[in-house]
């Protein structure tokens, strides 16, 4: 590594000037805000929607407690909702699974059946706010479709998103324990279904945040993200879906670490690369298919357990980078991130940070304020080139299914984790309060009590779900689960309508996932602790 370099190892010089951008046709490479290739943003400079959706990661305990949390955040001025499930929910396991017990509701909301989703969104204006979800996509799309209809709202009016990361989830701490083919199909089915039934909803939200927050650098993050976007686009095209039918609702949820200009350049490069790829490789013509919405979470991994108040500053710096890059939605990882999902106090600070940047700093008056900077344009170009080189290199190695199978992706993630740990331990990666300017534990008190307060697991959910199971019409449930299995055995059918029907008969996500595993020749419970649901 050179004396000066970006976080992903791009050598830097002390100063940049006209010679650094002389070789770039800036008119062609930048365009105008809202015009191809969208380097300067997806919206025209005078677009009245300028600004971004301000939201914070939410969900804790049971659906009722989370519903109260969502109401509270909207009352404080949040402009969209962003829900994450607890670890069993995200892994498609019901709360009464023997492994789930002590994780119920502690790192997100526990959701496993339709009444849970109805309770989560009770009395919330579903047709007037955007609903973002870090939850399993097939079940989320199906459940939202049911909730909207039961509330008398057209599913077509729903806006928001659900994350997709089918290629990498097994290797990045969000294991579903599903075969690759099934994971990919659950993604493609949910995207195809939403394109027809929920056309304003971004069911295709490529999530590069969570794959990268184990230590990937910004180039690896976007290269792997593009590998997945391109893989899913190809599968959708193979189904005969015209590209302009689904591409307008592709969005990317990116990470934002501490390297201010590299993250800005990454986002500008991502928009340009996406636009060119969709037009030239996939034949998209609708301008909305070429303009990719970018949402972002600030990096949880950049935050520290030491001196939690420093994390407020980190979140501010990262959010400012995102605003200058022109993203459509921001979630600031809260100051207590090292310990827990956000406390009410941390939620408030993170939301207020966004509001201060938005309303007091005046940085939102001008679109792409960094456009034309010698350094930023040079770095944007450099990032684009490196991301594209890396993604072509990965694609040249084989199909994603084969690469996942062979452990190729897992090695990338493991190497990144080890590299990160070594850099932190050697001091090459500086963290104030960790490897520089440490303070004794006895003096590290500010905000500590808030950061360390725990959420108790919701053990009551176990009984609640058991009662839900007993109250169902067993014959109807069995018929719907059998129908889902038949759909799953027929590899050409879309699973979403059968999931909706099973939800409406009281099926749980754990049961449906078990049935899908069985249809793919696997045991229903990968842990070997539960009986088959059929």
């Amino acid at each position: 590594m050179s004396e000066r370099s970006s976080a992903s190892g791009i050598p830097l010089r002390p100063c940049y000037g006209p010679a650094d951008t002389a070789g770039l046709d800036l008119e062609e490479r930048l365009g105008e805000p809202g015009r191809y290739p969208f380097t300067r943003g997806v919206r025209a400079a005078d677009d009245r929607r300028a600004g971004w959706i301000q939201r914070e990661l939410s969900g804790e305990g049971d659906p009722r407690r989370s519903n109260a949390q969502l109401h509270m955040l909207l009352a404080k001025g949040q402009t969209g909702l962003d829900v994450i499930g607890d670890t069993p929910t995200v892994a498609c396991m019901d709360p009464d699974h023997p492994f789930a017990r002590h994780a119920i509701g502690t790192q997100g909301v526990s959701l496993c059946c339709l009444p849970d989703y109805l309770e989560l969104y009770r009395d919330l204006p579903l047709d007037r706010i955007t609903l973002s979800h870090s939850l399993p996509p097939l079940f989320t799309v199906a459940a939202l479709h049911c909730v909207a209809r039961q509330r008398g709202i057209s599913p077509a009016a729903l806006r928001g998103s659900v994350v997709q990361a089918p290629y990498y989830c097994e290797d990045t701490g969000y294991a579903l324990q599903l075969p690759f083919e099934l994971r990919e199909r659950m993604s493609v089915d949910s995207i195809e279904f939403a394109a027809a039934e929920m056309p304003r909803f971004h069911a295709f939200l490529e999530d590069t945040y969570y794959i990268s927050d184990g230590g990937l650098d910004a180039v690896e993050e976007m290269a792997l993200g593009f590998v997945e976007i391109r893989g899913l686009v190809r599968r959708l095209l193979e189904r005969g879906l015209p590209v302009d039918r689904f591409a307008p609702r592709i969005a990317i949820l990116v990470n934002c670490r501490m390297d201010f200009f590299e993250e800005i350049a990454k986002i500008r490069a991502t928009r340009r690369l996406f636009a060119r790829m969709m037009r030239e490789e996939f034949g998209a013509r609708d301008p909305r298919s070429l303009a990719v919405n970018v949402a972002a979470h600030t990096s949880g991994m950049s935050l520290t357990a030491q001196q939690p108040v420093n994390n407020v500053v980190r979140g501010t710096v990262q959010a400012l980078a995102l605003v200058l890059a022109g993203v459509q939605a921001i979630e600031i990882s809260a100051f207590d991130e090292a310990y827990r999902t956000p406390s009410p106090q941390a939620h408030e600070v993170a939301l207020r940070t966004q509001q201060v940047i938005h309303l007091e700093s005046n940085v939102t008056q001008v679109a792409d304020p960094l456009g034309g900077s010698y350094f930023v344009e040079w770095l944007t170009d450099e990032m684009e080139r490196r991301i594209e080189t890396r993604l072509r290199e990965i694609e040249a190695r084989g199909e994603p299914a084969a690469l996942a199978e062979s452990g190729y992706f897992r090695r990338i993630f493991q190497d990144a984790m080890e590299r990160h740990a070594r850099a932190l331990s050697s001091g090459e990666l500086v963290r104030v309060g960790v490897n520089r300017f440490r303070v004794p534990e006895s003096e590290d008190a500010l905000l500590r009590e808030v950061a360390e307060s725990k959420i108790e697991p919701y053990h009551l959910r176990v009984e609640e779900i058991r009662r839900h199971r007993e109250a169902r019409d067993a014959a109807r449930l069995r018929a719907r689960l059998s129908a889902l299995r038949e759909r799953a055995v027929d590899r050409t059918a879309n699973l979403t309508p059968a999931v909706i029907e099973a939800f409406e008969a009281g099926a749980t996500v754990g049961e449906m996932t078990g049935v899908l595993r069985m249809a793919h020749g696997q045991p229903a419970d990968p842990f070997g602790r539960l009986a088959d649901p059929l």
Binding site: T87, P98, R101, H102, Q107, Y339, R340, E418, S425
Partner: protein, 134 residues
């Protein structure tokens, strides 16, 4: 003398492996044998593997609070005929208060968010040697 054997694993749904992988590698680099049990274990799974493999130390990576609820059961299962396989815990979620309470229950050492890898390695080595001598 045969090398020190350490089991590294995680409990319940806790699956952020960054710390576990880094520690496993550091212990191997220091010449120890690491049985990497990885994610998704209940206390009985950890105890069975630890006793079958005859490890000197059990190391658990803790990135969720689940470990606090599983600890009593695990410590009881690791206590065989008066001797117990020592348990060390490491992870960003372990607060000073948690460290005090689990140490009182019999955990041999804890490593919070500020721990250096070198400190983890030397502590595991010291605990393993003491356990063999006992």
């Amino acid at each position: 003398m045969r090398p020190i054997r350490v089991l590294i694993g995680m409990l319940g749904m806790d699956q952020h492996e960054v710390g576990a992988v880094a520690v496993a590698r550091a212990l191997r680099d220091a010449g120890m044998e690491v049985i990497y049990l990885g994610r998704f274990n209940l206390p009985a799974d950890v105890a069975r593997a630890a006793l079958d493999e005859g490890v000197d130390v059990v190391g658990l990576s803790c990135h969720s609070w689940e470990y606090l609820h599983y600890l009593d059961e695990l410590l009881a299962l690791l206590r065989v005929e008066g001797a117990a396989v020592p348990v060390v815990l490491g992870g960003s979620v372990i607060t000073a208060e948690d460290a005090r309470s689990v140490t009182a229950k019999g955990v041999a050492a804890t490593f919070g968010p500020g721990a250096e890898l070198a400190e983890v390695v030397s502590t595991v080595e010291r605990i393993a040697r003491a356990a063999r001598a006992a």
